[in-house]
Symmetry: D2
Subunit: 285 residues, 4 copies
């Protein structure tokens, strides 16, 4: 079954639910799922609507244009996604392999519905892993010029028609130009429960502060380091028995899980970004 | 603000969402929240819709009758609840006090919006607790005739206009007549992660089986012991360091939390029962 | 059974375990529990040892003095506690009642083994709650002089022979003199997952930052606000569906649980403080 | 550093801790870690002791024989393990790949310290995965004779000097002869929170029962299906929004994590089996 997914947000007002639902109903589409949330604090309306687009009596463009008219009238901010398009994901890594293995194996198992046409790194270490999965591996050491290195990466992303960049423990800070161009299209995993322990060495600092739980945070990359909209977080209980390196090892599992869930939510068009916050609609399957 | 909450279920078919939403829209009501779920496995449609009923231009009966017509046409099973009515809750206890203290203090803090006009027990032990909170306490020892004791309780529930019965570690099995009459209106807390460890002494059996987590389950009481529709569950990690009585103590916290969440969901009209399963819409506030 | 509990810490060196265990063994005491941890990062040795002191052939002082000699020889930092002494706990509150109700009801249920001889507040609101439980309530409004108000509290704590002060959502900052005098004897509950959201209004800031989990932290009070050694933390998953006040309500449960677990660990002599960190030995029962 | 790990259990009696600790102390070994637990319900003593064996002044056999004498005198059941031996693990699979990928990648990342010299299956499906990691893959379809197929597997396990068999979603029941011969050396992952939903199709039954959490259980295989000693469990919250296949997908993550933790505990010699229960000492690192 081909599905069309509409992500919608707007300032809240009376009748938004009825007019959007009504649009699809009048055209005879079957609404498969409708998830709606009104944020009473910010007076903001959010909606994810999924319709059966298997036997359309109009073109995709006609449907989108038609909805565009409703949206213009009602002041909706919206996007439309089609279930038969598989997003193209580039994974950026440095030396740590756990998130890479996790993402690629989830893709192979069918849990992440996407293409992974390339892996990019600033170190040669993980080429072996890439080869195991027959995924092209591009290694651009930072070397003398970080700007030059970043330009090469951005060129490659374009050449490969990439839709989403996943920073799977890529230990370089991206330039504002990069994050601007790819706004809402770069997912990073931070190995701490943000906003605690922003910046470097979170496990050492967690040890020193004596916290009883550690966590991980997946977020969209933004100009300000570790400040982008949070997509997913999780925590795991730790005890005094773990040293900084013990925390690091225990944390890996949390990082993998959190990053994978965030990427999955993005691939399934379940995320709406509003300023510094995200709305992540729960899975239904 | 006065709100009307409609809980709706039906066999799934095209257009259910649009026709229900449309009904309220055409009458000019503001839809505050709309939570909808289609179970694609059972082909069943579930919906909770909350509207602003502060300045109604019709009587409550007119609104309900109007919706009743839509429901009849569309084959909806539904109920309507009004936010300005506070449900009347009877708490049944035996000797353990933790759930009783927890429920009553949550009520005092405003977390549970209800009246608790009486506490009923088969033991005198908790009369002191009831007195602390100035709640009438009725003690009916089981004695010779369990049927007679139960009849007294059921009389009292009617006399006090009770809407919901909470078995807060009430250690007596109810007769099928009782559970039938009060179907969907008795919430029990079982001190195990059902369906594991149904029946008596779950903590001892959990110890013997060497489980690494224990849990608690709140469910509607049904004729078959520990078989009613589950409302809420939670688990807590335990280690080999706990004996059966240690498990029991650790489990109390889980029982309190699970029971309170289940009662809250019922009071907030967030639960739809379909056969042996429940749909519990998440809190939005 | 009367038990003596020794809490021990020292810089790690060979033979510490053997010499401490040997001391009790040679005197013929039965070791009920022995929990030991060596922090390989800080090279620090920690130990909690619990012995059966029911039929002692020496006085308590003789046992303590004897162990003191071993400790002096081995360079141990230690304390000894006797299971037949019930600590005297003062609860300080402001207006929020949930932690107060929770602590008092856990005490009544026997979960917290202590006396609660008084409740102190800067507001009159919770006198009713204190009366329900027949606990004296002292109200000292901050008024013109915060120093004067604090002096009254500290006098009262001495007059009542208090061993532990619990800040159960007491919304005043304590002076360095107070926290110094009571070092390691004041437990505070912070309504956030420290070190995230230190300071005021954590739930609002959690909403604004769009975190996907909120938490609570119990810690010993220190001169620097929200910086004292952490005893216990927990988190709870939240969604975009909660406003700041929704987060606050959901967080209450977490606060109660975390504070109660921290107080319990203190009362059971399971905590060793070393600088800014705590070692909390797990429950065995 | 080479370490020797002793796992010890015995009926509890006075002086066990002192005599075991004393043995190593008198011989001049440095005790790196000592984890001890006395089960007051079963009156059973458990201990894991880890010593620095880098510069031994005796042979390994002499140390073991020496301890054997203490053990005979004190009635200890014990085993000794050396940190420089890497266990040889055979992974048995059927068609599901998620646990296989997870285990192998954790091994590659250094999280699981072992050899994986072969993968065995009753289906050809996962040969590709095995090839990616250059691990020999043996496929024995069940065909006409299950006994014959099992004999081939058991021969292979011997030929490859296997120490531990991991059933990574291997969908065949093993014969009592197999589980007897390999007692305490076969770890299985069951895709439910045992003892709930023993047997087949746990996710479908979880859906039908309407549980609010699902789980996974890793246990040693025993003659009775799904009855062996539990090593590790975990649960994950689910909602009414998941169909049986949705539960299955969500559960995969839990299965992977639980199985990996169980295998890790076994490889690190942190598990003591006593009848139907396990003692799993926590990680310290």
């Amino acid at each position: 079954m081909i599905r069309a997914i509409f992500l919608i947000q707007a300032d809240d007002k009376k009748g938004l639910l009825a007019s959007t639902v009504g649009f699809f109903y009048e055209k005879g589409y079957n609404i498969l799922k409708c998830q709606q949330h009104t944020d009473s604090y910010e007076k903001r309306f959010y909606m994810r609507i999924e319709i059966d687009a298997s036997d359309m009596k109009e073109t995709r463009k006609e449907l989108e244009d038609g909805f565009g008219e409703v949206a213009a009238r009602e002041g909706l901010n919206w996007s439309c996604h089609w279930s038969d398009y598989r997003m193209r994901v580039a994974i950026l890594v440095s030396k740590a392999s756990h998130c890479l293995y996790d993402l690629v194996s989830r893709k192979l198992e069918g849990e992440l519905s996407c293409e992974i046409p390339l892996i990019i790194s600033n170190h040669p270490d993980l080429e072996i892993a890439a080869n195991q999965f027959r995924i092209p591996y591009y290694c651009f050491p930072v070397g003398d010029s970080k700007a030059e290195q970043e330009r090469k990466i951005r060129d490659l992303l374009k050449r490969f028609d990439i839709d989403l960049v996943v920073l799977a423990r890529y230990m370089q800070i991206l330039s504002p130009e990069f994050t601007d161009e790819w706004q809402g299209k770069i997912i990073n995993i931070h190995h701490a429960f943000l906003p605690a322990f922003q910046g470097a060495n979170p496990y050492l600092r967690a040890y020193q502060r004596g916290v009883k739980m550690i966590g991980a945070t997946a977020h969209y990359a933004s100009e300000d380091l570790d400040q982008g909209p949070i997509i997913e977080q999780d925590t795991v209980r730790v005890s005094h028995e773990l040293t900084p390196s013990g925390l690091k090892e225990v944390g890996k599992d949390c990082e993998k899980r959190v990053l994978a869930n965030a990427v999955k939510a993005h691939l399934e068009h379940r995320i709406i970004i509003n300023g510094g916050r995200t709305i992540v609609f729960p899975v239904e399957r």
